[in-house]
Amino acid sequence: MTQKPYTGSNSLLESLEYEGVEVIFGVPGGAILPAYDPLLDSRIRHVLARHEQGAGHMAEGYAMATGKVGVAMTTSGPGATNLITPLQNAMMDSTPLVAITGQVATSAIGSDAFQEAYTTGLAMHCTKHAYLVTTADDLPSIIHEAFHLASTGRPGPVLIDIPKSVLNQGTTWKEPSLTGLPGYKPTTTGHPVQIAAAIDMIEGAERPVLYVGGGVIKANASEELLAFAEAVNAPVVTTLMARGAFPDDHPLALGMPGMHGTYPATTAIQHSDVLVSLAARFDDRVTGDVDSFAPHARVIHVDVDPAEIGKVRQPEIPIVGDARSVLTDLIARLQAKRGDQPAPSRDEWFTQLKTWRAEKPLSYEQDPNGPIKVQYFIERLHSITGGEAIVAAGVGQHQMWASQFWKFSRPRSWINSGGLGTMGFAIPAAIGAKTARPDELVIALDGDGCFQMTMQELITASVEGIPVKVAVFNNGGYGMVKQWQNLFYGGRLSSVDLTHHTPDYPKLAEAMGCVGLRAEHPSEVDVVIDKALSIDDRPVVIEVVVDPDEMCFPMVPAGGSNDNIVMGPEDL
């Protein structure tokens, strides 16, 4: 037999191996076929998703759980368009991702060929960058650039569209170097003058708050954050994307701020005199009405992306830089300035925070006779597992309760869709996280609505041997949407009912090769959790039949002022 010629496909696989890729999540098809052949001989694992959206979210889950670049691969046309949601999701949440899509042959581009889509055009606004490869010789350098772009500066998704003819073209592999990015030079170290000014401002503050965003996790800066918060003696709020960046059981931790944030976190920001934003982006779910957000605060804004600075709120001290590097420099500057002297005690401020904490804690009532409350289940799960798990969530009430009631103790243990709010994220993202960290307990906390969007990926999980746990909170509907209809549309419920009974989740789970369990009564909660934790050879789905009428509080109605926090239905 003659030797097969070395083609673009071989070069693609060799390049991915060179970049250290361990796993690709994908679905094959016509245009990407040539790449799937050498994949058989590659050391890279391929996880065959059941839908390209699933493949994309798996790659995101993988990336969020590790900080490494996640890789998804699909065919052209529908394969590529199915990937758009994960790309935008990764864009909004700054998740490092490389997406590889097949494309029709170069000679057919623009001819409305079978399964042709203008993929780089579609991806233009939902990627950090998108490449169309026109010759196989370019593959090593383009792939190298793509991984560099995805993982440096503000991380994000990068797409590489490869025509079938390029995959089949003869080529050789050449070790790539980074010479081709004259316009890409992320600033990573903060300016020393600004660092010094920031320390002076924070030291002089009476009511400082550290407003921590997801960038702290991306920058692997949790240790530095802890040291800094203790050194300056300032309370810490962690946004939805930053849950886990700072331990919730720390005396300085106030929890999540914003629309469904804790009262002390949201209110502390409102009363702060110096607000230190650390790799957060003043999202509308955090600020509420921008004009009345943190009205007394002088703002220090640290971000690796200069475009974030001043986008929503003009800071007095902007610092462009990587969160870890900036925090390290801030700590050094503080030590140089203050030596061994203790931090200001800020007794008045801490007394105030203590009062808010005591007076307005997160709360719910679990009637021992049922129905089960999602909050109760999450608290029990946390207690039984000791919090030793990676938790993924869908989008809706259950997501907010997960963020509120799971007490996080370490970074990369919370995988959720923050910016885009993508229903169906939890299951595939949990699969990606479990693929990356097989020794960890990985639990998806999902809604019944979300579950029905991506549940087929449980087949992927059982066939591929990725034993995630999924708790699906069956409140018989789109709880979050129903809550808004109840609060803002006079209780006229429109298209939010999914019924408690169909589908039969445990049966469905069993049909997909998982173990299916159900808890309907509070007394069954610990039993099913124990049972689920005892199974490790297959995915487990626990249907938790929960109160359909429970609403998620605290709440600041969209666009409202963070001064007016609704603690419960009685406040409306």
Binding site: T120, G121, M124, H125, K128, H129, A130, L132, L149, L181, P182, G183, Y184, D305, P306, A307, G310, K311
Partner: protein, 168 residues
């Protein structure tokens, strides 16, 4: 308000689409656009004139595009701007002389001629072009094409002043 931006980019496919989409996505209209290679190999310069209230955020977003190397906004008081215009004016043989007199005051060249029209080529600052149009409008403009505006920062007061009015 009108802003003039000079955007230095890598000369690669898709760059112009990305840059222009940055404006259309935000509902801003591009008034004029000109692209061409620079003296540095592989680099092009895009000159954009846009109507937008405020450009700080947009400039930062442009800068985030991977193939964009530099973005600067040109100060309207410190700028050299030129446009090229081809304009066909209807005119019978009898009116030719008069129209050519006007044209010569503006340094407009006749580049085409027909029984019922004259076609001029004119280069100059945007205001120069519009005052010429004001002069010839009454004859009837049959066709008109303008290049996108190109612009450069003025380096000294000695630079050639832009022709803005007759006789300058």
């Amino acid at each position: 308000m009108q802003h003039t931006l000079a955007v230095i980019v890598e000369n690669k496919p898709g760059v112009l689409a990305r840059v222009s989409a940055m404006f259309s996505n935000r509902g801003f209209n591009i008034h004029s656009l000109a692209v061409g290679p620079t003296h540095v190999a592989g680099r092009s310069r895009i000159t954009l004139v846009v109507d937008a209230p405020e450009l700080e955020q947009l400039k930062k977003q442009l800068h985030k595009l991977i193939n964009v190397i530099k973005v600067h906004e040109l100060d309207p008081n410190q700028v050299l701007e030129r446009e090229v215009m081809l304009v066909r004016v209807s005119c019978d043989v009898a009116a030719r002389g008069e129209l050519r007199d006007t044209a010569s005051l503006f340094d407009a060249k006749v580049i085409d001629l027909a029984d019922n029209s004259l076609t001029f080529e004119l280069t100059g600052a945007p205001a120069h072009l519009s005052s010429f149009l004001d002069q010839v409008r009454r004859y009837g403009i049959v066709d008109l094409v303008k290049s996108g505006r190109i612009a450069m920062k003025k380096t000294s007061d000695l630079s050639q002043p832009a022709k803005t009015s007759v006789g300058s």
